[in-house]
Amino acid sequence: MIEFNNISKNYGLTKALDNVSFSVKKGEIIGFVGPNGAGKTTAMKIITTYTAPSGGTAKVGDYDVQNNPLKVRELIGYLPEAVPLYDEMLVSEYLEFIGNSRHMNGKLKKRYDWVVQACGLENMLDRKIGVLSKGFRQRTCLAQALIHDPEVLILDEPTSGLDPIQIISIRNMIKELAQEKTVILSTHILPEVSNISDRILVINKGKLVADGTFQELIQQVSKYSSIYIAVQTNKKDFENAIKDISEIKDITYDHSTKRGVTGAHLYYSGKIDMTEKLNELIQENKWKVVEFHPEKLSLENTFIRLTQSNESEKQAETKGE
């Protein structure tokens, strides 16, 4: 239903998307996961034809987003991150405006009633959009995306800024809707999409770093652990000493430590006993330990970090050969 072939998008010198390819089958629910600024929104904007890609081709249904944008737009219901609403309009006026713009003609009445009920907007129809709470604004915008019964739904952070109860209700709604539609939704919280999505695409720094079901991702992540260590030494000595432990896959330095103290997050494959190795290292170098503890990182952070370090390792290996 949706195909991305080597899509790139540059904003000036920044690469928002770098050679991203994936495809989505009809009826699938896809979760886009990644930190803020990873490129999720850019990918969605390309699918919805709002932004033109700098390179590569993208198709929705049988239509190319560049050559046939109007046909693509007809297939898509889109909830942008910015929640675009005209504050001075009534909720009913707004939905009618969208319905008319989508050339619904005779079908509008029936769908309008359905969408108002499905999004729980019955009591809000005569209110001005400007006075609505955040939750109802989000729902109004969701109703806008659904009114023409689109085949493809693109939802950019549909639950951001909502309270937990609203999050659950929106999530349930998406689940219900998703039975007959192709859905792409984005979030920066991995567990949030875990129980709705068939497949999860992890995007970081404009690159697709992982693609699989939630279970597959969990398996990959659970192989790794992380330890935080802070010792009294300078960074150079620390770097030299830590290099000898080959099991460490990745290091990020903590820049908030005091002068003379080096702090770092160490990521390693979970099966070995890292505490012992590090203890030996500390004794050898006669470091004074300031902090030393295992860490629980959020799932997506660990995931992104490790998939990336794996990749850079692979690249290094191939270069070595």
Binding site: K45, A52, Y78, P80, V83, M89
Partner: protein, 242 residues
């Protein structure tokens, strides 16, 4: 055609929610009629010459920029441009719908100055030729400035920036043909003033129509420039660089 109507309707209605549009309409009508009344009492002629001689400046510097600034800038600020440009409506129709809404609002404000001809009919026996010519010129001129305004507003998220730039551009093309300004410019760089006045300036064409000289060149000038800016507006939006 229906698509243009849908966009037009929403855009036109939203003018009536905005206090800025009301304020500027009142300023527009008040400013024009009061400047006119000053001349009217001074000269005592039952014509609208002085009204139409100040109109291009009031339109170009104040009124049109004030009502055209929101056309795209507001959509950009609210993020609704993303909604609008992902609807299955051709960009040309969206631009045209919005443009016509702004234009229609201008026509209403212009109709607010009909008090002057009505007054003239009551007080004297005015010559209707120049008055009708003047209003015809005002319609063409307003439409032209509006196309500049909508084009410029598609570049900026901030309405005030759109207003100032539109005001500068419209002010410039009005002033280069204004009374003695071409001669003044010729004094600095010989030929430049005449050139600008002849090919770019709006005043010469407006004055012709206002005097009742319905030269085809003037119509071509207004209509082709209006269409050029609307076309450029569509092209800018279709680059889809956001």
């Amino acid at each position: 055609m229906r698509d243009i109507g849908i966009i037009f309707k929403r855009e036109f209605q939203s003018y009536f929610y905005s206090p800025i549009a009301y304020v500027f309409s009142i300023i527009f009508i008040f400013l024009n009629t009061s400047i006119y009344m000053f001349h009217f009492f001074l000269l005592g002629n039952a014509d609208m010459r002085s009204f139409f001689s100040t109109l291009p400046l009031v339109l170009g510097i104040i009124f049109i920029p004030a009502i055209s600034m929101r056309l795209w800038s507001e959509e950009k600020k609210l993020g609704t441009i993303e909604l609008l440009l992902t609807l299955p409506i051709k960009t040309e129709y969206i631009v045209l719908g919005k443009y016509l809404a702004g234009f229609a609002f201008y026509l209403i404000a212009l109709a607010g100055t009909f008090t002057i001809p009505i007054l003239l009919v009551i007080l004297g026996r005015p010559d209707f030729g120049p008055i009708i010519g003047g209003y015809l010129g005002a319609i063409l001129l307003g439409g032209f400035f509006m196309s500049i305004g909508i084009f410029i507003s598609s570049f900026f998220e901030d309405q005030i920036v759109s207003l100032i730039i539109t005001s500068l551009v419209c002010g410039f093309i009005t002033l280069i043909g204004w009374q003695y300004v071409p001669m003044l410019i010729d004094g600095w760089i010989p030929g430049l003033g005449t050139f600008l006045d002849k090919y770019i300036g709006v005043s010469r064409h407006f004055n012709d129509i206002e005097r009742g000289v319905l030269d085809i060149k003037s119509f071509i000038y207004f209509l082709s420039f209006t269409m050029l800016f609307l076309y450029l507006n569509v092209k800018i939006l279709e680059r889809r660089k956001y």
